[in-house]
Structures are given as C-alpha cells and as structure tokens.
C-alpha cells in the first residue's frame, strides 16, 4: 500500500516524496505537541516493553469502570485513591462543580498569598518591613502602607466579587434539576446529586449535565441531536446514535431501572472527539465510541427526550478537563518590562551599596566628629553605613517602576475596550462587534511579522456549492444546452420537474440534466446514487421540507446536489437508507459505514441492493482513491484530467467509486470488522486496517467539484498586508493545484511571481547543507552563522510546498518501528554510539530546519498544501523558533486548533471567536484582520511607548513622528526591534475623520488610522 510505504521510508532512503499524498496520521497531535520530545526515544522504549505490556495497557486504557444503577460498585476500595495519608476518596467525582476559589475562612489568607505572589506586591511588602525598623526607616511608615493597602484592597474586592459570582453560578448550575432513576423511578434530582452510573432522562433544549452514554431516545433508532456550540463553537446540529441493543431494550422506565451494564472506558481526558470504551451487558460486549456519548455542555435539540448513563461527572467531564488553567501569555513588552525592572532593581542595589560605602567613608572622615549631628547612639561608621544601605533602598524605591505594570495593564484594558468599540470591526450581518478576549496581547498585534492562515473558512467562506462533475471521464457543469452545444447566453437549469428540489441550486449544464432524465447512462445513475447514499448527513423534516444536517459543508453540498438532480436522500435508520431515485422510493440495507477521518480521507458505505448484490460505494480525496483503484480502469486518465481542470478552477474535488462485493467476501470481512470494532486497544487503527482490506480494486465513477467562495475583500487585504511586508503563509489541506489557484485568485501569487516548488528548494537546501558541513569542519556551531540569501535578484518569489516535501525536507518522517526494535542497544558502548548518532542527526535536522525557514522567509508568500493539522502547528513552531518573530495564526478552529494553540503568540481571530460559532457563514473576516492590525496597534504601542522611556518602542514613537511627513516609512523601525504592521504609503495628514493619521494606498480605501 502506498500510504504504508510512505510512512515506512526513513530519511536515508532516497525516495521522492509524493506530492499527492498527505504524509501520515496525526490523530494524536495533541499529545505529541505537548511533549515535543523527538519520537525516537519513546518509541524505542515502547517497543522494548512491547508485548508483555499489551495486557497491561489494555487495563490501563480502560481502567474507568462504570456500572449502571449501582452506587455500591463505585464505592469499592479499588476505586479509592489516597488523598492525604490515610484519607481516601473515590476516584469518581461527584457532579457538583466547584469553580470558586475561596470560602469565607480561606479568603483572606489565600487571597493575600495569591496577591503577594506578584513581584510588585511582594516588593512593597519587603519595603514595608524595612520601614518598620526604626534604625533604617527613612520615610514615614504610611508612605508604603497606604498605597499597598489600597492596591491589595481593590484587588481583593475584585476577587471577592468575582468569587461571589462564581459561587452563585456554581450554586445555580449545581441546583439545576434533571430526571434521574432513584429507586426504580425517574425522579427530579439536582445536578449536584447525580453520580457516575446514574441513568438520567434529558428533555428537549436542556443542557446535558454530565458526560453520558446515550442509551435510547424518543427518536427512531435512538438518534439524538445535540448542539455543541458551548464546546467547540459549531452551531450545526450533530447527531448521536445509541447502540442498537440499548435502543431495543431500554425504552421503558422499568427496563432502565434494571439496566446493569458495565462500561469500561478510558480515564477522563480532555479530548472532545475521542472516546473508546466497551459496554458489557448480558454477557455481550459492545463497542462504544464518541458518537454515543453526550458531553456536558451540549444541548439536546430536536429530540423530545433521551436517556443515558452517566460515565463522567463533575470535574471528570471533558468540558471541565478542558477548562484548564489559562497560561498567562507574555508579550515582548512584558518581558522587556521585566528585564527593565530587574535591571533597575539591580542598579538600585548597586547604587544603594555605593552610597552606603560612601556614607561610611564620610561618617569616618566628617560625620563622626560633627558635634552638631550627635544622635545619642554609639554606632561605628561601618554599621551606620550598613543601616544607610537599607535606608537608601527605601528612599530610592521609586526608582523601580513597579507601578509600570499597573499602568500598562490599565492601558491594555482601555485598548481592548477600544477594540471592542471599533465600528470598523463591527460585522453588521451577524450583529457582532470585535471582541478582544485577552487584554495582554493587544500591542503584540502591531508587531506581527508572519501570518499563518488556513484556507477554508478563513480565506474562503466555507459555503460549498456543487459546481461541476466528471462522470465516466466526461466533464459536466459548463454552460451547455440540452444537446451539448454552447448556448449564446447562460441559462439556468430548471429543476421544477423534481418535487424535492430546493430551489436554491444553480446549475447551467442542461446536457447533464438531459442525460439524467434519459436514464440511458448507468454510470450517471450510479454516480448520483452514490452521492445520495454515501454520506453521514442527517435529515430533518420540518413542514414537509427536507433539511439536511451535515457535519461538513462539502457533504451537505453533495447530498443537496444529488437531491436536486433527482436522487433524493429521504431518511436513514441505523441499518437502512431510503432515497428517492427519480421519484421512485427505494430502501437500501446499509451493511457498514466506513467512516471518514482525516487520515483515511475517504468514506465508504456498503449496501445491499434490492436485488441482493452487495456494493461498496466510496468517495474520497483523489490521492487516496487512486491508490485503491482497480488496475483496469479505463476512464482513469480522463478523470484525472478533469480533476486537474477542476483544481485549476480552484474547485475542491472528490473522487467517487464503487465496488461489487461477493457475499462470501463480505461475510469474511464483516467478521473481522466486528472484531475490530469491539477491540479495546487501538481500536481506530484496527478499524482502519480492516477498512483498508475492503476498499481496494475500486471502479472509478467520476469526480465532483465543489466551489468554496473567497471571503470578501481577501485580495485587497492580502495585497495590503504584503505591502506592509507581512509574510503570509497559507496552510491548507488542499491539492497543490487548488492551493496554487487560490493563491492566484486571492492575489497572493501574481504573474510576476516566481513559484518555487518542493523539488526546487530541496536541491537548494541540500547544496547549502553540504556547503555548511564542508565549511564547518569540526565545529558544527560556526556553520549556524551563515546567512547568505538563497536566491539572487529581487524578483517576487513564492514557495509552494506539499506536506510530504515538508517532511522530506524537515526530516520529520515517522520511523519504522521494526527497525527500532532491532536497533535496541545491548551494551553501554552501543548505547553511547547510538546517542552520538542521534545527537548528530538532531543537529543535522536543526540545521536543515533553520535553512528551510531562512529560505521560506525570502519568499513573499508561502503556501503549504496537503498538510496535516500537526504539520500546520509544526510550521508555525518552526518560524517562531528560528525567526523569533511574532506570528498570527488565523483559523476557523476545527482543524486549526493545533496551529492556533501551538504557542503562537497571537491566537486572536478564529471565526469561532468573532462570531460565537457558525464557522460557515461569517464572511469578510479576513478583512477584519486587516483592519485590526494597523489600527489597533499603533495607538497601543505609542501609548506604551510614552510610558516606557528608553525602550525600543519609544524610539519607534519618536522615529515615527519624526519621519512622518511627507512619506511615512515605518519599515526602518523594524531595525529597532519593534515593527509595525502597516506600511504607509501616503499620509493624508489631519484627515477629515479627525484621527490624525490615516494611511491608505493610492486609490484604495483607508488602511488604518492611528491617533498619536
């Protein structure tokens, strides 16, 4: 298999990376991100421990046991853990949540402790203590006490108010009620009394009180719709489906009260989309996955009621596990400020010491014999000098600009309010104003050097529409009349013949409609049948209208297209799917759904047709599909051509194919599938393997092309940003061609741009590395200092690189596990040799990475296509690491979480933030980014600059002012260590808007305004 081959290659093998292939799985990106240790070691130890541990891991993986309706089970001693010496506590948390920090007794000590953890407060406390010593005290005691008390008091009051609010909120939440089985009946119970193993009933539009396993619901097949806006910001409904067995037997209250299943699952964690577990009931085991779990914080929608058993309660729930401590992000100004304060403090000490020594000398020479200074104390001059040292520290304490922190805080707070109030950043369509979630990073925005952007949903609107298709090698979708001729003017296809058409669908190819209506071509029928069958879309019928609830907009677009073309998906049950084929209703038995995930990049359904044939329908990314095609696919080339054409039109493509399966083959496979689906360890991998076995020898049907429109104003914004010399990196999972075309359509790339591809720069990097090695000779470190440019000439350059080339270049490949096993060192010598080798490889890798970043930064734009979320994060990390630049990552959340949270300094604008949820509808977001950057930062920076004398920002301030007329040229500021995001071209001076300076391009709209 080609994907296997790819993952097995190591860097000493000289294989060409495949542009088309997405490198490897990154399902466990989060863990890997957290521990950025190179994988070699851990993998090695893992393999060492190998087999004997597999049993243990099984137990370790599924050590969380929940028994329904059995409180005593959870109170067994093995479920206790020691808290304090001999006090034991159940490991199962109660459902009461506690977000407050203080109670009446602990408030004062804890709060004071918290406050004195801040350096500034502690500093004042030390001063206060010094002043309490009469021999030292130089100022009256209240000079420090009063301000300190004031600060402490205000903070304490604020904390108190916050905490009271938290107490109230906790109380409110904990005292909500829901129905829980108690003594065999559903009774209203408070949330805080819900325990693990309880069976609860949830009504429509109520929040889920804990993480529960869905047992049954009022809907057929125990479907249950939930809205997860509170969890991930997505507002589309998601459906959850209960196990068949629980759906069947657990509808009645009495049955539920008798339910005694045992659930074994993983320990509580913060992975919202992952869950593995097994239900043991009536001597059978059933696999559980995330689709059967309702998470706390979700809202039940479109479902009258549903039942579930509590698995995680209270602090164990995924949402609470996610609400971890927010790490305080420090900006450059913060660290600069810290540096300054510490330096000043050091200077203060030195100064005081110097003064004290001087005082000793003076005391010896003059002071001691000055009769008029008699003070009735018989101190020696050195002792007087020592006392004076502390006295000077008190007297000169104002030298340490400790109040600077407060001032900066206040300014930032004010700035964040101005951001929130900014009319230019108000999005009227959604009635949403900008919201600065953090006050600490505002000024950082003005210093952004690199923007990493996702494509879908950020550059584009993420509103998908079916545009074109290729069926059996024949392309459809251009303007054509019924006979296949080009019409004089485009005419919209009339879908009125189809009672299910939604009326919003626009299509211009009458020829395709004729083909469908004529029903001559079985391939076309199969094609649309596949679109109608192979998906995970849910139907929601309201007022006789069919509404589709799709998890991904692509899927929604395809199913909607099929519906308009006469293949209407009507309903689904657990095992069947009903569609209307040109008006004839047919029901297919669904034998298996081979789900989509970012690894597989495809999904399949296996259905039994009415005539008993078993057929697998599969749709997926062209790369993965092409690997699995039957060798004798006649239309392969033609379709490939069509795919290229579509990609050139910046359309998103999917390949469709099918395969007939014999009964025997299916039976054999189904057995394996069943086994894999209840596997307790590595179930996903096992399933993937099983899926792989059946998805082969596929017969190509054709391809679809979906359009994802650009956001409003994207080209303008990008050109402005690039004028400001902000480098834009687009990181996308799309095909290279699609990405390139998107690059052109949003004017990231122009005709003048020289585009470099992976293979070009690979050679460049290789020679550079050779040179460096040769030159470096023995010492490896001197080679790090080479900085000659990679490219000659000043042409615009852009880099388009695929994920696999990225891996090739950055040596980030996964290593074969088998190999590592063999390499396990036996002797100390071998071990040392190996570490030496590894160290060398590390240094080599680091050099290569640095070279790559240097090279990429010479390009005006970088587009990374076919990259996985993990690679996105990796790229951001690389730039942060080697360029020490401030980066901005923009993404719509879902697959960009890694990138956004990977310590990127600014993770301010994800769509989820700007409008709570609805990643699909927000437009012109990117435009807002442009408005945010210059207009926010200039004032902030200058505010801060006027506060912090002698820091770079000040020089920026002065230089800005100084160089303002007639042409504002902020680029020179970059040399000072601070940079601004806007490169102004023409200064309008005191413009009519009464902001002082607005920058604009020659004919474009105002780029940004700043008040000095």
């Amino acid at each position: 298999m080609s994907s296997e081959r790819d993952s097995e290659t190591t860097f000493d093998e000289d294989s060409q990376p495949n542009d088309e292939v997405v490198p490897y799985s990154d399902d466990d990106t989060e863990d890997e991100l957290d521990s950025r240790q190179p994988g070699v070691e851990s993998e090695q130890t893992q393999t060492n421990r190998g087999t004997e541990e597999s049993r243990e891991t099984l137990r370790k993986d599924c050590s969380w046991q929940v028994k329904a309706n059995d409180q005593h089970f959870h109170e067994q001693p093995q479920f206790k853990r020691t808290i304090l010496l001999c006090f034991k506590k159940s490991k199962y948390a109660g459902n009461a949540i506690k977000t407050y920090k203080y109670n009446p007794i602990t408030f004062l000590p804890l709060n004071l402790f918290e406050q004195f953890k801040r350096a500034a407060n502690f500093y004042f406390l030390v001063l206060l203590i010094l002043q309490a010593i009469p021999q030292i005290s130089t100022l009256s005691w209240y000079t420090t006490l009063v301000p300190l008390l004031l600060v402490l008091g205000i903070t304490a009051v604020k904390d108190l108010v916050d905490d009271i609010a938290r107490h109230r909120m906790d109380n409110e939440v904990n005292n909500r009620t829901c129905e829980v089985i108690r003594d065999g009946r559903f009774k209203n119970t408070k949330w805080k009394d819900i325990k693990v193993g309880d069976i609860i009933r949830l009504k429509k539009n109520t929040f889920v009180p804990a993480d529960i396993l869905l047992l049954s619901s009022s809907e057929p097949n125990s479907l249950c719709y939930v809205e997860t806006a509170e969890l991930d910001g997505e507002t589309n409904l998601k459906f959850k489906m209960a196990l068949e067995v629980t759906d069947k037997y657990l509808q009645e209250e009495s049955a539920m009260a008798d339910f005694n299943g045992l659930i074994e699952c993983e320990e509580p964690n913060n992975r919202l989309d992952k869950f593995t577990g097994t239900l043991f009931w009536r001597n059978m085991s059933y696999a559980l996955d995330a689709d059967k779990i309702l998470l706390r914080g979700c809202k039940v929608r479109n479902t009258d009621f549903c039942h579930g058993v509590v698995i995680f309660a209270g602090a164990d729930t995924k949402i609470m596990k996610n609400s971890g401590k927010t790490k305080f992000k420090r900006t450059k100004i913060d660290s600069l400020m810290n540096y300054m304060v510490y330096t000043i403090f050091l200077v203060l000490i030195l100064l005081s010491a110097g003064l004290a020594i001087g005082h000793t000398y003076w005391e010896q020479q003059i002071g001691n014999s000055s009769w008029y200074l008699y003070d009735a104390e018989d101190y020696s001059p050195p002792y007087r000098g020592f006392l004076n040292f502390w006295g000077y520290i008190i007297v000169l304490n104002t030298m340490v600009p400790i109040s600077l922190y407060v001032s900066v805080e206040v300014i930032r707070l004010g700035q964040s309010y101005f951001i929130n109030w900014d009319l230019q950043m108000y999005y009227s369509e959604k009635d949403t104003a900008a919201k600065a979630r953090t006050t600490t990073l505002n000024e950082q925005l003005g210093q952004i050097h690199y923007i990493f952007s996702d494509k879908t949903g950020t550059l584009t609107q993420n509103i998908m529409t079916f545009k074109k298709c290729c069926i059996n090698g024949q392309r459809y979708g251009d303007c054509r009349d019924g006979a296949g001729q080009l019409p004089s003017h485009p005419e919209q296809v009339d879908f009125s013949w189809n009672m299910y058409a939604d009326g919003k669908f626009l299509f211009y190819d009458h020829y395709l409609i004729e083909q469908i209506k004529s029903r001559k071509d079985p391939e076309i029928q199969k094609f649309f049948l596949l679109l109608a069958i192979c998906h995970t879309v849910m139907v929601d019928v309201s007022d006789g209208q069919i509404n589709y609830q799709a998890a991904s907009p692509d899927e929604g677009a395809l199913v909607t297209a099929a519906r308009n073309f006469g293949y209407v998906f009507l309903s689904r049950t657990q095992n069947t799917i009903t569609i209307s084929e040109m008006g004839i209703e047919k029901t297919y038995d669904v034998l298996a759904i081979l789900d989509f995930n970012s690894d597989r990049k495809r999904m399949s359904v296996i259905v039994r047709e009415s005539n008993g044939n078993i057929r697998l329908y599969c749709k997926g990314a062209d790369t993965v599909i092409y690997e699995r095609l039957h060798p004798r696919n006649v239309k392969r080339e033609a379709t490939e051509e069509a795919l290229d054409v579509f990609a050139n039109e910046t359309l998103r493509t999917l390949c469709l194919c099918y395969r007939d399966i014999s009964d025997d083959e299916f039976e054999a496979w189904n057995k394996k599938f069943m086994e894999a689906s209840v596997a307790t360890t590595n179930r996903d991998e096992a399933l993937d393997k099983v899926y792989e076995e059946i998805e082969k020898n596929l017969i190509l049907l054709g391809a679809t092309a979906i359009e994802d429109k650009l956001q409003d104003g994207v080209p303008e914004t990008i050109s402005k940003l690039s004028k400001a010399d902000i480098k834009i990196w687009v990181l996308t999972g799309d095909k290279k061609e699609t990405a390139e075309n998107i690059g052109f359509s949003c004017e990231l790339l122009t005709d003048e741009t020289t585009i470099c591809y992976g293979e070009d720069i690979s050679a460049l990097l290789q020679t550079r590395l050779e040179n460096q090695r040769n030159r470096a000779g023995s010492s490896t470190h001197s080679s790090l200092r080479m900085n000659e440019p990679f490219f000659q000439g000043s042409r615009d350059r852009a880099l388009i690189i695929t994920g696999s080339w990225l891996n090739e270049i950055l040596l980030e490949k996964k290593k074969k596990k088998k190999k590592l096993k063999l390499k396990f060192p036996r002797t100390a010598e071998e071990k040392q040799k190996q570490t030496e080798k590894r160290r060398k490889a590390e240094a080599y890798k680091e050099q290569q990475q640095k070279n790559f970043v240097d090279l990429a930064c010479e390009c005006k734009a970088v587009i990374c296509c076919r990259v996985t979320p993990k690679q996105k994060a990796m790229v951001v990390e690389l730039v942060k690491k080697y360029k020490k630049a401030i980066t901005l990552a923009i993404g719509d959340g879902a697959n960009d979480v890694n990138m956004i949270k990977s310590k990127a300094a600014v993770r301010l604008l994800s769509v989820g933030n700007i409008s709570s949820g609805s990643s699909s509808t927000i437009s012109s977001l990117f435009l807002f980014v442009e408005k945010t950057l210059p207009s926010v930062s200039l004032p902030t920076l200058t505010f801060l600059a006027s506060l912090l004398p002698s820091m770079p920002a000040l020089s920026l301030y002065e230089e800005t002012l100084y160089e303002m007329l007639p042409t504002l040229e902020l680029e020179s500021v970059a040399k000072k260590g601070c940079r601004l995001s806007c490169q102004a071209t023409t200064l309008l001076g005191n413009s009519a808007t009464s902001r002082d300076c607005c920058w604009s391009t020659d004919d474009g709209p105002t780029l940004g305004c700043a008040s000095f």
Binding site: E172, D232, I319, S370, W371, D375, W421, Y426, L961, M964
Partner: protein, 349 residues
C-alpha cells in the same frame, strides 16, 4: 483548547432573540474622535523649536552670569587663635574675641548685606534636618519626639527650642568698624527684617504669656547654647524668643554643606548712605561657634545685590548649559535628517 469554559458561559440560557443591536456606539469617545491637539512634528518645526529654545536659554544665561558677576563681594576668613581654643569643648564658656582687618578697594554701593558662611557643615544631614519641632516653634506645648536626641535633659526639663538644628545655632557676634581718618566708626547694622515675612509672622511664634521669660518657664536652653532663648535679643521684644531673626534664619536649613546665611544688613545712614565706602574696615568677632572639629571653615561675607539676586552664578550656568544642549541637539537632528534623506528607501518603487 479553543474551548474556554466557565459556568456562566456554559449554561447561560440563550438570550432572547430580539435583543438590541450589539453595534458599538458611534460616539466621539468610543470611536476615538475626541478633539485633541496633536502637533505635526516636521523637520522644520522640530528644528526651529530646538534652535529657538537654545537661543533663548543661552541669552538668558549669559545675562544672568554677567549680572551675577557685577555683584561686589568680599569674603573674610575668620581668626585662627580662637578656632584652636574652640576645638576643645571644655573651653566653651571662655570668651574669645578676635578682630579681622580688611580693606575695601572700591565702594560697595547700594544695599550691602553681611553674611556668615560655613563650609563643610552638613545641615542637609537627614537626621539633622528632621530634628526640630515646628509645633514648639509655633509656641505650642506639644510632645517633642521629633527633636530626638535634643528633647529633654536627663532630669526631664524640656529644651526650648528643641532639636539638633536649634541646638547648633550659629552664635558668633560680628561687628563691623570703619577706620575713617584714623577714627573708628561702627558701621550701623540692621538685625531685623532679614527673615521672611511668613517665617517671622506665621511659622514662628512665642508661647503666650505676660512676659517672655515666664513663657519659657520650665524649659531650659539647649545644651550648646550660652543663653536661654528669651535672652536672644534683650533690646527688642519683637526680635526675641522664637521670633528672633538670627534664630529663624538658622532654622531654615541649607541644602548644601557649604552655605551662607544672612546675618545683618548695613543700615544706610550718614557715612554709609550710599553703601560702604572704600577704606579699611575691621570685624570684631566674638568667636563662639567651633568649626575646626568637623574640618569646617567660617567666613564673613559682605555683598551687594543686583536684579538677579546675589552673587550666585548657578542659574546663569544652568541656562547656558540648557541652551547649549538644545542647540547641539538641533545640529545633531539636522545632521541625521540630511543623512537619512539621502539614504531613505521609499517603499513604492
């Protein structure tokens, strides 16, 4: 994670559909359109500001220095015999008189002021500065803890006035004689009207009583004093006690270790109607104040006054330095500007 969860966010009921628009107010404050004056700093304005400031400061400074130089002043170092005697504190009550002759080569016209100067006397010492009781000096009988260590005697008798400043009051008496045609004329000196009005009338007041000695009954003079406070000026009731001009002037401590305090003014009568004529003069000094112990020196200074004050060149020098700095900065900025203008690479090609 993207999810930031708090109880308030997590379970807040959905807000009503029909809520007021969240569009920010289009007010001057919120949109940062408040009227403001923000100077446009161009090369012309910046440079002209610097050069004008420089020119102004330089001219003022030069004027001040010139006028300070026109002050006529004579400084006389005091006698050494007595200073030896005073080195030993046991001789404190032995009177020591000395006379210093000097010659004025030119007339000192106008008002002539007589100062005593002290060198190396650290009136600015922190412990010294705070050792006084302003309340006591206002005539109130209050606790004198600020005066430590000169508060009370061991037997409990409070000192009046208390504190280190008062205790170390300058107690020489200086008389000036003019040797005119071999006759010696005492130059008439004014001992009142030398202090600030606010000091004399507001900050210093004697305790209320029918006479001064009874007002200070129950108190004792400071240890280094030779006579109690109510005998500072026995001739003039309004110059006695706390409101004695010499005392008031002493209590106004100096910022530096070398300083001069006004002692007397020449009364412009008869021979001295126009100031001090040129000729030979003699100071008769009753030497009481010991300075050699702390390596100090004393002077007697006669000085005239001009419009800018006494013979202090500091202000003038300060102006000149500032003016020079501003001018220099102006030149530097000009240089930078000329250099940058050539180098500047415009963004637009």
């Amino acid at each position: 994670m993207l999810v930031s969860w708090s109880a308030s966010e997590g379970f807040a009921p959905q807000e009503a559909e029909a809520r007021p628009s969240r569009c920010p107010d289009n007010s001057a404050f919120k949109q940062q359109r408040l009227p403001a004056w923000k100077p446009q700093l161009t090369i012309a304005t910046v440079l002209s500001t610097f050069f004008l400031t420089g020119a102004f400061c330089l001219s003022v400074g030069i004027c001040l220095i010139l006028s300070a130089n026109s002050v006529r002043e004579i400084q006389v170092y005091k006698c050494s015999d007595c200073s030896k005697l005073r080195e030993n504190s046991y001789n404190w009550n032995i009177e020591c008189l000395c006379s210093v002759d000097f010659k004025l080569k030119e007339d000192m016209l106008g008002d002539v002021f007589m100062y005593y100067g002290l060198q190396n006397f650290y009136q600015n010492h922190r412990r010294y500065v705070i050792s006084r009781s302003d309340a006591q000096l206002l005539g109130r009988d209050v606790n004198r803890s600020y005066c430590a260590p000169f508060t009370t005697y061991n037997n409990g008798t409070p000192m009046a006035p208390c504190g280190a400043i008062a205790n170390s009051m300058f107690n020489d008496t200086i008389d000036l004689f003019y040797n005119f045609n071999s006759s010696v004329i005492q130059v008439p000196l004014l001992k009142t009207g030398n202090s600030w009005w606010t000091d004399k009338n507001v900050k210093f007041r004697n305790p209320q009583s029918h006479n001064l000695s009874s007002a200070f009954a129950g108190t004792a003079r400071p240890p280094y004093w030779q006579k109690p406070v109510y005998l500072l000026d026995e001739e003039d009731e309004r110059n006695n006690g706390y409101i004695n001009d010499d005392f008031i002037i002493w209590m106004r401590v100096s910022a530096f270790a070398t300083f001069r305090n006004l002692y007397r003014r020449i009364s412009r009568k008869r021979h001295f109607a126009d100031g001090l004529p040129a000729g030979n003069y003699t100071f008769h000094i009753s030497y009481n104040f010991p300075v050699t112990k702390f390596k100090g020196k004393k002077y007697v200074i006669l000085s005239t006054m001009v419009w800018s004050g006494g013979s202090n060149p500091f202000l003038g020098i300060a102006y000149v330095v500032c003016g020079a700095a501003a001018t220099l900065t102006g030149f530097i900025i000009t240089a930078i500007h000329l250099k940058l203008r050539k180098k500047k690479t415009y963004f637009q090609k």
